[in-house]
């Protein structure tokens, strides 16, 4: 088990900064998800840790050692690639054995460890198959066994589940997490799939334009996004613009919303007259008919209704803004389009974000 740290990493391609001063620490044995839109720098960071990208400035430290001058093959890492990158001219067993053979391990040890690695990913019996004779999920498992059999210090995953269909993907997520816990290896994982990042990671970091926007435990980042980008990228959010009108004794501020109505929420610096941007997750909103609008309760009109089995998505016009709302289908029936409704929420779900 190892720690990986990156300090002030900068990488430019012509005028574009792929990494623009990234500092972060990956703790021993943790599963860390790097999340962001394409071109946000997450893949560049992963490739810099692997050694495929040399930084213009800053350091990559593995167990405290600066690995800047260490070539890829001497870094003792395991990596899984987007399309698995299995060796097509080798059998499953030869693929897994490769990393041990190039290290010159004795034949008996190689055979034993290959067998153990294939058993770990539940692929015993397929040793002699060629990669192209395997299904996507099986190829995935071979790639994982191959990456782990050398007992690397850190496991790097570059969108490894991207090529699988949804069902297989969920199965592999569980499998990946099981094996990662069993081996206890520090794992860094790049994905643009937010749900996958939330499911798998101990901690996540959201990237944009070569910078870390926010990092932390998935639930913390989801519930308390600090920027508009983080709130909108991880899950969905309604954004409400407002102005602080008063402070309450309980530490909350009273905010007059631009779309009409009033809300109370915690703000960073509750000066009267200050303009604030607030994020509100669609599932935190309660939809009611027949109650009065007031504090933390806005009047709206249902625009459209999308029923999707376990939940229903409503789009509701509030003032001149359209808000989205998810409702668990606890009862049968939906509110019809055109109905007048009241949206309400609890103040702790209204989160101030920077624009």
């Amino acid at each position: 088990m190892s720690t990986v740290a990156v300090t002030d990493a900068v990488k430019r391609y012509d005028a574009v900064a792929a990494l623009d001063g990234v500092t972060m620490t990956f703790r021993e044995g943790e599963f860390f998800g790097l999340l962001g839109p394409s071109g946000s720098g997450k893949t560049t960071l992963l490739r810099a840790i692997a050694g495929f990208v040399s930084l213009d400035r800053g350091q990559v430290l593995i167990d405290g050692q600066d690995v800047g001058g260490v070539p890829v093959h001497a870094r003792n890492i395991g990596m899984m690639f987007q399309n698995y990158a299995l060796f097509p001219h080798m059998s499953v067993a030869e693929n897994v054995a490769f990393g041990l053979e190039v290290r010159g391990r004795p034949r008996e040890e190689v055979a034993e460890r290959v067998k153990a690695a294939l058993a770990m990913v539940r692929l015993g019996g397929l040793e002699q198959r060629r990669p192209k004779q395997l299904s996507g999920g099986q190829q995935q498992r071979v790639a994982l066994a191959r990456a782990l059999v050398t007992r690397p210090k850190v496991l790097l995953l570059d969108e490894p589940l991207g090529a699988l269909d949804k069902h297989l993907r969920q199965e592999m997520q569980v499998e990946l997490r099981r094996i990662q816990r069993q081996v206890g290896i520090t794992t860094i994982f790049v994905t643009h799939d937010q749900e996958e990042a939330l499911t798998l990671s101990d901690r996540i970091a959201i990237f944009d334009s070569g910078r870390i926007i926010q990092e932390g435990a998935p639930m913390a980042v989801y519930e308390r996004p600090i920027t508009k980008f983080a709130a909108g990228f991880l899950g969905e959010a309604n954004f409400l613009q407002g102005r602080v009108t008063a402070t309450e004794p309980n530490g909350l501020a009273r905010v007059a919303l631009e779309i009409g109505g009033e809300a109370s929420c915690k703000v960073a610096d509750g000066r009267i007259g200050e303009s604030v941007l607030l994020a509100l997750r669609p599932e935190k909103i309660t939809l009611s008919t027949g109650i009065q609008a007031g504090l933390n309760a806005l009047r709206g009109k249902v625009l459209d209704v999308v029923f999707s089995g376990n939940s229903t998505t409503y789009r509701i016009a509030v003032g001149d803004q359209v808000m989205t709302l998810f409702k668990q289908n606890l009862a049968t029936g939906t509110v019809a389009p055109g109905s007048d409704v009241v949206l309400s929420w609890s103040p702790e779900h209204l989160v101030q974000v920077t624009p």
Partner: protein, 261 residues
């Protein structure tokens, strides 16, 4: 009914093409085993022309020259061509596009023109006509074929497998030997086959660059035909065809084993 006529016509067409290609070759090969020196029928089986061939020192010398040049040419052109193809595929450098475009004209320019220019150029830089000059000419001619064939293999080469090898601890040399080379082999072998065929088949350049007394097989066959010829030519041609078909089938077999995408 109609949807049966289409495939039937296509099959018939295919057979017609094959017949058109192979009937002259079969007739030529069969007549090599005919006793008559005047290609007279009826057919009477005899190995007399193969025996005569074995005693024909000039043809055998020419054959040895041809095979020798072709082998050396294949080794040089394949090595240089593979390196050039790797450079084109892996590096970005000034003038790359122009250089890549310049590879194609030598394939299209008539050999007569190339042969003449080489003759003039070699005279000018004082390279004497002979086996070395012939070899130079052959290498120059076969190089573009190797670069194009290996290059097409490289175009579909999965780079990620090389990166995967590096992450698994393979040094650049181990990666090349155990991953890049085996995956590239079908392309390299295809290129080598082209280089061999271009050289072994080459008449014009060899004819222009060969001094009196030195010949290659195509040049010798051409000379023999002009003087009036015997079925000995059929015998040597049959041998050439059998050998090159054998090489081709061998390559096809290799492709199937090593040529996964």
């Amino acid at each position: 009914m109609r949807n049966r006529i289409g495939p039937a016509l296509l099959t018939a067409h295919l057979w017609l093409v094959l017949v058109f290609l192979y009937v002259p070759i079969v007739v030529m090969a069969v007549l090599g085993f005919n006793a008559s020196p005047l290609y007279a029928l009826p057919f009477q089986f005899d190995l007399v022309w193969y025996k005569a061939l074995a005693g024909n020192a000039k043809l055998i010398d020419a054959g040895i020259n041809s095979i020798g040049i072709a082998i050396v040419n294949t080794a040089i052109a394949t090595a240089l061509g593979t390196m050039a193809a790797l450079a084109f595929a892996r590096y970005k450098f000034r003038g790359q596009t122009v250089m890549q475009l310049l590879l194609f004209p030598p394939v299209a320019i008539p050999w007569l023109v190339i042969g003449t220019s080489m003759l003039v150029f070699f005279y000018w830089v004082d390279i004497k006509r002979g086996l070395f000059a012939i070899l130079l000419g052959h290498v120059a001619l076969s190089l573009p074929y190797v670069i194009v064939v290996v290059g097409s293999r490289l175009a579909t080469f999965p780079r990620a497998v090389e990166e995967a090898a590096a992450t698994l601890g393979a040094t650049p040399w181990q990666t090349f030997r155990r991953v890049t080379a085996p995956l590239l082999a079908p392309g390299v072998i295809g290129g080598a086959l082209f280089a061999f065929a271009v050289s072994f088949d080459q008449f014009v350049i060899s004819y222009f660059l060969a001094p009196p007394g030195v010949t290659t097989l195509p040049v010798e066959i051409y000379g023999a035909i002009r003087k009036g010829f015997t079925p000995e030519i059929n015998a040597i041609s049959t041998i050439i065809i059998v050998v090159s078909m054998g090489a081709l089938l061998l390559t096809a077999r290799f492709y199937r084993f090593g040529g996964e995408r």
